[in-house]
């Protein structure tokens, strides 16, 4: 498929609405997409994340150091592409108007479509707290909710949360001068919907065949309540002593994503009845506003209205036995990992010892000893030094060779 019009889809959020799922599909199929005239310009999985960090000068646990110039490189590739291009990262929702102006200006004169995927607040709020916990935060759930409900948005958590999650505001910042038919709100289907329905909605917006670029198996990475409480407490012990790159590999990836998320039977995080009522009211006001704006809705805005409140287990006061159980599982996992790494270390030591023995064997030969004597002689004898220089020049080797 070749496009006569240069078109750019800017998927700007929101976090926890299947964005990583979509980005995985786009990244894994980027070669086939390119053949169809669609550019997903990424040489690494997190390329658009780094570009977003660069665009917004956002610190991100040191990762931002890899982001220098990432937005300009991405924008240059997109500008040079004759067909459709897709840029997708959920933290772009945090962009201020100055960032948006810079981003849009850098993309040239293409037809820009803004895409925002949205999910009801009652599911978003607990998911964001868990995301906070997975990013080393130690704020309790109750304090997190208090921050969100502070109308002045005094705390960092509230500023970030509303910056990326307040759907009407994010869209207003990103869509100045963009026709409403080029603004696409993709709603996340409610629990129990067909597994590929969300992907089909995204594919419809991007003009892709949802079957040809079918997603693989999805892994649910949400934590249960006791597991979340345990990781939050673990953060308080690790935050000052464990560097970010180790936290990412050991805690977020190995412990949370690969293990604790797979535990079944734990209560899932939800909102208390009172918080539910507040979030539901807010969600209704957003839907009313979105209806008035006349954007292209992919799905149904009613899906942004929360369902009735379900059972609530408070992670700040949950069953300590369940937390201990999660902690012991984590300890067992980490012990196995430590043992595995020790085995790797032992194997590497053996490899080094083998190499060392080989070096010693080579050094014990008569030829090598003669060479060493000659090099030593070159330190005091001009003649030997000159001969050595000539020898090295003839051999074309560096000074480490004898």
């Amino acid at each position: 498929m070749t496009e006569s019009v240069r078109r750019i889809y800017l998927h700007v959020g929101a976090p926890k609405t299947g964005t990583s799922f979509v980005q995985d599909i786009l990244f894994n199929h980027r070669a086939e997409l390119r053949e169809q005239g669609i550019l997903y310009a990424a040489d690494r999985h997190d390329a658009h994340f780094l570009a977003a960090l660069d665009l917004m000068d956002l610190p991100w646990g040191g990762l931002e150091q890899e982001a220098t110039g990432a937005w300009d490189r991405l924008a240059a590739e997109v500008r040079a592409w004759p067909g459709t291009a897709i840029i997708s990262h959920e933290i772009l929702g945090f962009a201020s108007r100055v960032h948006v102006e810079r981003a849009l200006a850098s993309l040239g004169d293409a037809e820009v479509h803004v895409v925002l995927s949205a999910r009801d607040l009652v599911r978003q709020i607990p998911a964001e707290w868990q995301e906070n916990v997975k990013h080393r935060r130690t704020l309790r759930y109750g304090a997190f909710l208090d921050e969100l409900r502070d109308e002045k948005r005094s705390g960092d958590v509230a500023r970030w949360f509303w910056g990326v999650q307040e759907v009407p505001d994010v869209l207003e910042r990103w869509t100045a001068g963009i026709p409403s038919e080029h603004v696409h709100v993709v709603t996340v289907p409610p629990p129990g919907s067909a597994p590929n329905l969300l992907w089909e909605r995204f594919a419809g917006v991007f003009g892709l065949d949802p079957v040809k670029f079918a997603p693989g198996d999805r892994v649910n990475t949400s934590l249960g309540v006791p597991e979340s409480a345990m990781v939050r407490r673990l953060n308080t012990r690790l935050n000052d002593v464990l560097p970010n790159h180790h936290y990412r590999g050991l805690v977020r990836e190995l412990l949370v994503h690969q293990n604790l998320s797979a535990r079944s039977g734990s209560p899932r995080l939800a909102l208390s009845p009172e918080a539910h009522a507040w979030a539901a009211g807010l969600g209704r006001s957003w839907v009313t506003e979105l209806v008035q704006r006349g954007y292209d809705v992919v799905g149904d805005l009613d899906e942004l209205l929360p369902s009735d409140p379900g059972p609530f287990t408070d992670p700040d006061a949950c069953d300590e036995a369940a937390v201990a159980d999660a902690a012991i599982e984590a300890l067992a996992l980490m012990t196995r990992e430590a043992a595995r790494l020790r085995d790797v270390e032992s194997e590497l030591r053996e490899v080094v010892a083998d190499r060392d023995r080989e070096i010693q064997r080579l050094r014990s030969t008569g030829v090598h000893r003669a060479k060493e004597r000659f090099v030593q002689k070159a330190e005091t004898s001009t003649l030997a030094r000159g001969s050595l220089a000539v020898y090295r020049r003839l051999r074309g080797r560096n000074s480490r060779s004898t």
Partner: protein, 380 residues
């Protein structure tokens, strides 16, 4: 009747003309119909421009335009509108700009500096200059210990042509532990670290150990093994330290006071941003330009000095224990000791605070912005 857009435009023009009238005074007799509207420029941008005008003292149209155009950095309120009649239904809540936190204003003040610093004079000008005349007959001296004071003394002796061969006298500088930690924090920041003051201490508490430059006892013990004379010089005050060191090295030296915490805080905040914009090597050069060329000129605009840094309350037990351990170690170390090792124990300094005053950091950032603007040719 005045609309929000009209009011904000007229205030922005006032600021571009060098005005310093606060928003509340600007709109005191204005009728305020309708709601505040999200849009550019934000309350944060406008308030930073107003405060820069206050420091600059004369209209700086291009500088104000630069301020209003920079993208805010880091996390905070997204495009907060100015307080005006009814709040808008969505987006950040309207704010009174004079009530914006220093942290919020720094989100705009820092990118202004990031834009200006690369335009200031080339960094090569500030490279340390060794004396053109070597003095091999002089006693060779190597300096260690309290990081900022040691770096200053090394540079001073180098400029004077004092040799540093291996047949040297080792001089280990020791100051109260809180001061040595503040110096360590400052020097780490100049090398590119973005760590906060409390994180330096958190790490010390978590690991139970102090940075190398803050352990003069261990430094001295290790140096003693070299077989060369070791002198440990301990003093609470930088002038007294200089006096004692002068006696050891046989020439008058001067030592700087402890670095201003606001300056260290500014440098460590800029490290992240500059690294992102220019890469780590260029970023280190630019913070040197800031420290050596911009900040000295900016200091004259500051209204008050920063409070000295104190050990955070949760680290005081560790600080007391380690400093006493160091004092005992130095007393029985078997090398020459000048001054009183008990000076290593932190004391309650008047006005000291265990947190950096962000108001002072903001004030310095704004003043540094104006100074950098002047240095790069904005104003003669």
């Amino acid at each position: 009747m005045t609309t929000y857009s009209q009011a904000i435009s007229s205030w922005a023009e006032h600021l571009r003309a060098g005005g310093t009238t606060p928003w509340s005074a600007w709109t005191s007799d204005t009728e305020q119909p309708g709601a505040a509207e999200p849009g550019n420029p934000s309350a944060t941008h406008l308030e930073v421009a107003r405060r820069i005008n206050r420091i600059a003292g004369r209209p700086q149209v291009a500088l104000v335009d630069l301020v209003l155009a920079v993208a805010p950095t880091g996390r905070g309120l997204v495009d907060p509108p100015l307080a005006w009649g009814e709040p808008s239904r969505f987006g950040s809540p309207p704010v009174h700009p004079d009530a914006l936190s220093s942290e919020e204003l720094l989100r705009v003040a820092l990118p202004v500096l990031v834009r200006l610093l690369p335009l200031v004079v080339p960094a090569e000008k500030y490279a340390t200059r060794a004396s053109r005349f070597s003095s091999p007959w002089r006693r060779s001296v190597r300096v260690h210990g309290s990081p900022y004071a040691a770096a200053a003394l090394i540079e001073q002796l180098r400029e004077q042509g004092v040799p540093t061969s291996s047949r040297c006298t080792h001089v280990v500088l020791a100051r109260p532990l809180d001061v040595m930690m503040a110096e360590h924090w400052h020097m780490s920041s100049l090398r590119g670290s973005p760590a906060r003051w409390w994180r330096v201490w958190r790490q010390a508490v978590a690991t139970g150990s102090l940075p190398r430059g803050a352990r003069p006892d261990r430094l001295a013990s290790r140096l003693l093994d070299s077989g060369r004379p070791v002198h440990v010089v301990v003093a609470d005050d930088h002038d007294r330290l200089a006096e004692l060191v002068s006696g050891v090295v046989g020439r008058p030296v001067s030592l700087p006071p402890t670095p201003d915490p606001a300056e260290t805080d500014l440098v460590r905040r800029l490290n992240r941003l500059l690294t992102l914009r220019t890469g780590p090597d260029r970023a280190r050069t630019l913070v040197q330009v800031l420290a050596q060329q911009v900040v000295p000129g900016a200091r004259v605009s500051l209204t008050a000095p920063s409070a000295p840094l104190a050990v955070p309350p949760w680290a005081r037990a560790l600080a007391a224990e380690r400093s006493r351990e160091m004092a005992d170690g130095i007393r029985g170390g078997g090398y020459a000791v000048h001054g009183d090792p008990d000076d290593l124990v932190p004391t309650d300094r008047p006005g000291a605070s265990s947190t950096v005053d962000r108001d002072r950091t903001l004030e310095l950032a704004l003043a540094a912005g104006v100074r950098a603007w002047q240095l790069q040719g904005g104003t003669p």
